[in-house]
Symmetry: C2
């Protein structure tokens, strides 16, 4: 009863994260109400993602025909500090804050089981090689993973792996967020915030 184009669209798009069959269905019918140019723009912006690849150094995204991403190839970034992040969107948040001028390293989305996937192990192995082969000295490795149990578990693992290779390994501090209220802080946050008072 529904044209197969709609069915195919729903099948394909409802597999995407944070998009169930209902949202995909609504999206399909909405898209059919767009004019040809608008639909084509969406289509080509989706297809253009095929022109991207991972940076050989930090695993952020870069154009296929470039060897490194915009950050790794930026001569103004400090090369002797690396921040390990889980996701590309974490990098965007870091860059938006403008707090960090070093380089990044994207580990990839952590599995809920807390076990590193093979691809993530390979990335860390690659990072180790980059660090040990580097002529310049790596001054600091910042483990900027989420302060969750899985993030902490992975951070411990990375700390063990890189102890001896990097002089200084740090983590982001945890505490009451700016603008947050002590009244509503959970026990772990308040305890950590209290213990790290300065």
């Amino acid at each position: 009863m529904v044209p197969k184009e709609i069915k195919n669209f729903i099948d394909a798009f409802s597999r995407l994260p944070s998009m169930g069959p209902r949202q995909a269905t609504r999206l399909a019918f909405f898209l059919t109400s767009l004019d040809k140019a608008a639909l084509h723009e969406l289509e080509s912006s989706l297809g253009a993602l095929q022109g991207l690849d991972r940076c050989n150094e930090c695993f952020f995204l870069k154009h296929k025909d470039e060897s490194r991403c915009a950050i790794c190839s930026d001569p103004n970034r400090t090369p002797d500090v690396i921040a390990i992040l889980e996701k590309e969107t974490d990098l965007l948040t870091f860059e938006a804050a403008g707090v960090f001028r070093g380089k990044y390293f994207i580990l990839g989305k952590l599995a809920e089981k807390g076990v590193l996937e093979t691809a993530q192990k390979l990335r860390l192995e690659h990072l180790k090689q980059v660090i040990t082969k580097k002529n310049e000295h790596l001054r600091e490795l910042i483990i900027a993973l989420n302060p969750t149990s899985i993030g902490d578990f992975t951070a411990d693992l990375i700390t063990k792996e890189f102890t001896g290779i990097v002089q200084k390994i740090t983590r982001l501090s945890r505490g009451i967020p700016t603008g947050g209220e002590i009244e509503f802080a959970d026990d772990a946050t308040l305890t950590s915030s209290f213990e790290h008072r300065d």
Copy 2:
């Protein structure tokens, strides 16, 4: 810093309903993690929507090279009852319930101001012509719009327009939903449900 392919994708997709910039950003990075075949499937299922058009009779969707949709061209559907629906997804819900074997008429998403858009007025005008020109008698016009103030307002308007042209104009009943609890029913629902007891 972000490749322009990602930027373009976020620009285009964050304009879609129920998709803000944050979700579009996350989606962009997720898509770059897919293999080529999966990305291509999404792209082509999106592009294929261009092959769709509105049915000349009910304004549901059909293939461009067909004159009517699957429902309007189905000889087993009763042609003498038409249900006016707001959205294509309402039609899917009707069909899933399997309660109705007549034909549909899609009015298009009602504006929040409660005023019919020109395209909607044209569709109703078209429906009027179809009904008056029809050889068969239209037995019933079911106005199946949402029981909201805008839906009711529009239903009243349609009732006025079609009185004299159609013998019988009905609306969906309103009341306590099956499985719902009287305790939590709002005043309007309970009042309506009480008054229409049978």
